[in-house]
């Protein structure tokens, strides 16, 4: 059965879309490898929470969105932004705290935002994006558009009060919001099973009588299709969906955390063997969606793009001291 089903053909996706998702995942991977590099050279200040290993979720989800849709992101947000088409140069400049960054150096990795692409901000407070996304959904409803909003958050975030409060409102009012829980099994060092009695976070959807779906978060096509249904449902005005993608972060909680003491090496290795990019690549080749040569070119292009982003960011100047007093209030009011 399983091997008779050809997901790529049966899902009826264009080659363009299929390739784009491969590109998006690669962009995330290379972008973050580059961050690791810059961090180790002392060029990146602060904390880098890497998304490596979880690329399929952001990419599978965001490929259902347009620039008119919205998403709230997390402390582990690079993937969401890249999948939503944000500019790697301005992202990298922000990560390095530079003037040309999306936030002029004020936000950094934990707060990159790109309002032009509907990204309402990465967020340093676990669970805080969930109500904001819910408000964005409320807004679409009031304004009468068919925009949807995605709230990304982790397994551990699903223990915050905001998860409950927000999904409750979205369910009661049938708001067009997709709640995407990236269950990578841990919140920093804490195994979700130690602090929650819930095998699948998606089960929590029962509390609000909305659909809750568990999906293999390392399978970009599965994520894509499940999200597609949720997005269509939301656009039809039928309300929110809770999607749980099971996945794993390959690295520590952030660069600087080896991520080992609280996880078994075996576990990490098993998950790394199920690399979302590698398996997807094999699929694209097996299903003859693309040739090896095409994929090699794509990979080269993306490496190049990331390289350029890094160079751009490195060359970008630091913001000037006095800029610290800008951007608090809209003009002409100024700071005080």
């Amino acid at each position: 059965m399983e091997n008779k089903f050809n997901p790529i053909k049966d899902y009826n996706l264009s080659k363009e879309k299929l390739i784009k998702m491969y590109q998006d995942m690669l962009k995330i991977r290379y972008f973050e490898n580059k961050i690791t590099d810059l961090y180790s050279k002392g060029l990146m200040p602060g904390l880098a929470h890497l998304y490596i290993g979880e690329e399929a979720i952001a990419v599978g989800v965001c490929n259902n969105l347009t620039e008119r849709d919205f998403a709230t992101s997390t402390h582990r947000g690079h993937g969401h932004l890249i999948a939503q088409g944000c500019d790697l140069k301005r992202m990298m400049a922000e990560v390095l705290g530079k003037e040309d960054g999306y936030c002029r150096g004020k936000g950094g990795t934990m707060h990159i935002a790109d309002f032009s692409k509907g990204i309402l901000g990465a967020n340093g407070i676990v669970g805080a994006g969930i109500p904001i996304a819910t408000g964005s959904g409320y807004s679409a409803k009031v304004r009468g558009t068919d925009q949807v909003t995605v709230a990304f958050f982790g397994d551990a975030a699903s223990n915050q009060g905001t998860f409950h409060e927000s999904i409750n409102m979205a369910a009661a009012w049938k708001l067009p919001v997709i709640y995407v829980c990236e269950n990578n099994l841990y919140g920093i060092s804490v195994d979700i099973r130690k602090v929650a009695n819930t095998k699948d976070i998606a089960t929590r959807a029962l509390a609000y009588d909305i659909p809750g779906v568990v999906v293999d978060g390392n399978d970009v096509l599965e994520v894509y299709m499940v999200t597609k249904e949720a997005v269509e449902r939301a656009r039809r005005g039928e309300g929110p969906t809770l999607i749980e993608g099971k996945t794993y972060r390959w690295k520590g909680h952030h660069l600087g955390d080896p991520g080992r003491v609280y996880r078994l090496e075996k576990e990490t290795k098993e998950w790394m063997a199920r690399c979302p990019i590698k398996t997807y690549k094999e699929r694209l080749l097996n299903e003859n969606v693309a040739t090896d040569k095409e994929l090699v070119i794509i990979e080269k292009e993306i490496k190049q793009m990331v390289e350029e982003a890094a160079n751009f960011a490195i060359k970008s100047p630091y913001p000037k001291e006095e800029e610290a007093f800008e951007d608090l209030f809209t003009e002409p009011e100024g700071v005080k």
Binding site: F70, T72, G101, Y102, C103, R104, G105, K106, G107, H111, A113, D114, F115, L120, G121, N123, G124, I125, A128, I130, P131, I132, A133, T134, G135, S136, G137, Y138, S139, A140, K141, V142, R143, Q147, T149, G161, T162, E165, S166, N168, M169, A172, E326, D327, L328, F329, T330, E333, K336
Partner: protein
């Protein structure tokens, strides 16, 4: 001039702004058929419908955050938090999100959001329903803070708040809703950052926030009988603060008493004092003083509650002590 209640003035401000701009929405607990806990805003639900005027569940942090999400995506929400004590449940969204998202995004975000809430003791509602927590939001950069005194002030300032493209926390005094005041007909707005001199005087300056400005005025009128000529200033907005008006006044009078219903420690009264100390220091005839609620939770029994809160009598006495003593 016509007379309406403080509550009616608030309601008019919202009504006019909702009529004027269809992106204005209004969210909060019990605002639909009841018109809010203090019955200040009846009729809006019937007039503007259930999407623009909506009862929220009791989920302060998330409905405040919902307001932020809506503000970021094209609406101009008014979020009502029934008592300012409950702002503490929405602390993260107010302090870490709403106040900061414009700054953190390097100016990308625009947050046209007004949080309406109530302050003040005097109703025997004890420690969790009687606080005046304006100092907490003043402490956090990125929030404008408004403390209207009378009904006409409330109306003009609330309209400005709603039109502002920045987050504003608007404090209504719960003892005022049913009081009647003269309020001009028709539309008007009062700009932020411009203090209002309620009475000119030469012996001492009294700055009073919220309805303490009116109590200060009463005290000042009484004090004229003692031959004390006090100047009374209503700062209207604490962020931005019109320091210039206060400085000018204190340079003239040489004395300053600040009256605020919040707790004293790290409160608004001390801040107003310190923000001008350098400018007025060499003009002072006496140390600046504060008259606030003491540093204890608000007790239930009226026998304990009233002695703790500043009022016209306490202002009167303190001014006398400062000027004569």
């Amino acid at each position: 001039m016509r007379k309406i209640t403080y509550g009616q003035a608030i309601c008019e401000a919202i009504d006019e702004e909702m009529a004027r701009d269809k992106s204005v929405i209004f969210l909060g607990e019990d605002i639909e058929v009841l018109g809010g806990n203090f019955r200040a805003t009846p009729g809006l639900y019937e007039k503007y419908g259930g999407w623009r005027v909506r009862n929220t569940p009791i989920s302060e942090n998330s409905f405040t955050g919902l307001g932020l999400g809506a503000a970021l995506t094209g609406l101009r929400p008014i979020v009502e938090i029934m008592f300012c004590d409950f702002m503490m449940l929405a602390g993260d969204q107010i302090v870490n999100q709403i106040a900061k998202i414009r700054y953190m995004s390097g100016g990308q975000a625009r947050v046209p959001l007004t949080i309406r809430t109530t302050l003040g003791a005097g109703r025997s509602t004890a420690a969790q329903h009687s606080q005046s927590l304006q100092a907490i939001v003043c402490h956090i950069p990125g929030l404008k803070v408004v403390m209207p005194s009378s009904a006409s002030e409330a109306k003009g300032l609330l309209k400005t708040a709603i039109r502002d493209d920045n987050p504003v926390v608007f404090f209504e005094h719960k003892m005022e809703y049913n009081k009647t005041y003269e309020v001009p007909e028709g539309e008007y707005i009062i700009p932020f950052g411009v203090a209002n001199i309620l009475k000119e005087g030469k012996d001492i300056t009294i700055v009073g926030t919220s309805n303490q400005a009116l109590k200060a005025l009463q005290a000042a009128e009484e004090l004229t009988k003692e031959g004390i000529d006090a100047e009374v200033i209503d700062p209207r907005t604490l962020v931005p603060l019109d320091k210039d008006t206060i400085i000018k006044s204190v340079k003239k009078t040489g004395r300053l008493l600040i009256v605020d219903e919040g707790y004293e420690r790290c409160g608004v009264a001390g801040e107003i004092a310190m923000s001008i100390l350098k400018d007025v220091f060499y003009h002072l005839n006496a140390p600046i003083e504060r008259l606030t609620t003491a540093n204890v939770p608000i007790p239930f029994s009226p026998a304990l509650e009233f002695p703790l809160i500043p009022d016209e009598k306490k202002i009167y006495q303190r001014v006398k002590d400062m000027v004569l003593g």
